[in-house]
Symmetry: C2
């Protein structure tokens, strides 16, 4: 009997993080970190896990989208599926009726990405390898075949991608050993949430330095006076040699971003992240040009590779922040990593939330081993929330991600978590005010 | 008692249009024109109708999104709501948790747009005026106050918008009379669907000319040989003086678009529409530069005003094609009309589908009366499908839209239609193969 995908189970999982304002920023004052979570199961009992990270209300829409796409996965033969997840990605993203709701953006695109990621999780489990290692073992031709090139060739052709991957081949084995020995650089956003008071900010900044971080990040953009005060506190706490990135979470228009950041420039921000709408490539280019040499970082809300392509073509960013759950899954992120390599822009993945660290570390580590070949000027965001809910949580040592050795994409939540935090019927939520955890 | 919104009823309405390949193009071979439809009802029995146009599968996701947003509308006092729909638009689009699923794009943004449009429908009904006339009667200050300017000011400020509107004021009354007397230019896509055979194409082209159209549109991009043959047939049928626009529906990458269109250039295409990804502003600019003087048209899939802003800033399009259901409703389309006016680019709205003609005519007519002040080089798309399902269907005479006089936004479907075409339980669908109508 051919092994096939027999079911896609979905879960609406929400954590009441807004109670302590963990994750609070200028645009997200009260997030409840959540996930539209799914499990693929095969007729032989194999599993693949995936999810879309969300921040509370609306998770039910994302779950509905996953359910609508699931029939395209159920029944597929597992051997073929894991040998070529790109075929499924094209089918999910290219569905001629559902693509009207994107195309290649928002709810339906993220749902496709979660299913594609779950197939990669399944593929890596079957191969008995962590995903970064499975990807690094693919040939340049196999990687290139996993990407939809339709809209990318004016910036990067298949041949150029092959050259990038072949050029990186010689040092792969050595970098893999380095990665396993030393891990991959992290930076931390833990100190910088907007809802934390000054004392907590200073304490967490000092803690970050003593934990070995060389870069921290603060949320800005709600009140200029507060930002100046908080940056001064942070700079005092970390000293002159640790980088302080700042993150406005899209709160400004282009002229506001330029004006506000000029006031923060004396504190030597390492980058300004999401200074304006994530859709505004030309706006980012204008801000970058006005604020140089302050670096511009963006990407966590850029919805597909076409947007990243333009960001790079326009010279609009110094740092590309991929997200594991925003685009159409691993395959589209492979394209973005190759685009960034072509343009020589470092990738510093967005993480935090719930499970984003777990997923995206695999992509950064694959980039180090097989694409850019370097971790210089690169770091994965780290936030110390909610890792305890995963079967293979990330591990951090001396300000670095320890390379995962567990087979898969590190996407699996604990069964107890899926039971307790299921919304609205899990014990954590049943009977609670639906808007609790849940504040606006 | 204050009159309040008491309920939002939602409907998944689908028409089996794929049976005759009405609406077939290079990316949508078998669309089933559909709508995620909603009715606002007030405690006093007033109604506002709105919908998101969709093409079949996935309509249930859009309905789920409308249901998730509906609690923000229910309970609102009607007087305040209709006096300032922009306040609701900001609330729906800015919800700090739900915006993670966009932001300002895709399923959740279109759902917000449908609710906002329904409020405008309600406002126009209460005022006893068609929407175009209600909008045209607003002062420049009232129009400007309806727009979210956060991300637009680097291209268009509130003051510049006021100047555009004030400059258009003197001729308003005369243009309103002209509009009522003569209507607004239309062009027709009825002949050009990819699934029609050559005989039907030629016949419908001749019919279009005899019906008074000066511009028709053909779908292209599936097969170059077919496109050359079909364009030759169409050119022979309409003669040298009627424009033939062509529409690739995003099927090409940038180099493909340039190469393919060079082969079609001898047929003097009036514009090439959606030559590549709707997200690819810089790609459109490159295509435009390579293909000049062929016009570039796009917009039906551009997901928000920030994208239109960049399209105009980059000089990437000759024709801006607004869509009534893609962005965040009337309010965001007001911003796009003003941006187009600032940059001097004509707006030729996307329509067709189901109900898009009914809705968007109001925006084009408002543009004529109160913003651009001209219908020169402008036309609203017209397709003769499914108008019979509306209580106030569009009327076309001599290749022009007749200005609607019925109060509202012309959004209301017949009760019999809502009953019959409701998916999957309406009599048209119950018991049918769910993929019928419904082919891929």
């Amino acid at each position: 009997m051919t092994e096939r995908i027999s079911s896609v189970d979905t879960f609406d999982i929400r954590f009441p993080t807004s109670r302590h304002r963990d994750g609070s920023d200028a645009m997200n004052p009260f997030p409840d970190y959540s996930a539209a979570y799914l499990v693929l199961r095969s007729t032989a009992g194999a599993e693949g896990h995936g999810f879309v990270f969300t921040v509370g209300r609306g998770t039910e829409i994302e779950v509905a989208a996953i359910r609508s796409l699931a029939p395209m996965v159920v029944g597929q033969p597992v051997d073929a599926l894991v040998a070529d997840p790109g075929a499924l990605a094209r089918q999910l993203i290219g569905d001629s009726q559902i693509r009207w709701l994107g195309p290649e953006k928002g709810v339906v695109h993220m749902a496709a990405g979660a299913l594609v990621n779950a197939v990669w999780d399944l593929a890596a489990r079957r191969a008995g390898r962590p995903l970064w290692s499975l990807l690094a073992a693919l040939t340049p031709e196999q990687i290139v075949a996993q990407i939809d090139w339709r809209y990318l060739r004016d910036a990067l052709t298949e041949d150029e991608a092959l050259t990038i991957l072949r050029d990186a081949a010689p040092g792969k084995a050595e970098r893999e050993r380095t990665l396993l020995d030393e891990g991959y650089p992290a930076y931390t956003t833990t100190p910088g949430w907007l809802g934390y008071d000054d004392e907590k900010l200073a304490r967490l900044c000092r803690q970050a330095v003593s934990d070995g971080y060389r870069l921290i990040k603060l949320k800005v953009g709600a009140d200029l006076g507060d930002d100046v005060r908080r940056l001064a506190i942070a700079r005092r706490a970390v000293g002159p040699d640790v980088g302080i990135a700042v993150d406005a979470n899209q709160v400004w228009g282009v002229p506001d971003a330029i004006g506000w950041m000029r006031e923060l420039a004396p504190f030597d921000p390492y980058w300004i992240e999401e200074p304006t709408s994530p859709d505004d490539v030309l706006g980012h280019a204008a801000i970058r040009s006005a604020l140089a040499p302050i670096r511009i970082a963006t990407g966590e809300h850029m919805h597909n590779a076409v947007m990243f392509k333009q960001l790079l073509q326009a010279g609009a960013a110094d740092v590309v922040q991929i997200d594991a759950c925003r685009v159409g899954g691993v395959n589209e992120n492979l394209a973005i990593l190759l685009l960034a390599a072509k343009f020589g822009v470092p990738v510093c993945p967005h993480a935090g939330g719930v499970g984003l660290c777990e997923l995206v570390q695999h992509l950064a580590m694959f980039d180090f081993v097989a694409v850019s070949g370097t971790a210089e000027s690169r770091a994965i965001e780290y936030v110390d929330h909610l890792h305890e809910h995963f079967t293979a949580p990330v591990r951090i040592a001396n300000g670095r991600y320890v390379a995962p050795r567990t087979a898969g994409m590190s996407a699996q939540m604990l069964p107890a978590t899926l039971a307790a935090y299921r919304y609205p019927d899990g014990p954590r939520w049943a009977g609670a005010d639906p808007s609790d955890g849940g504040q606006r």
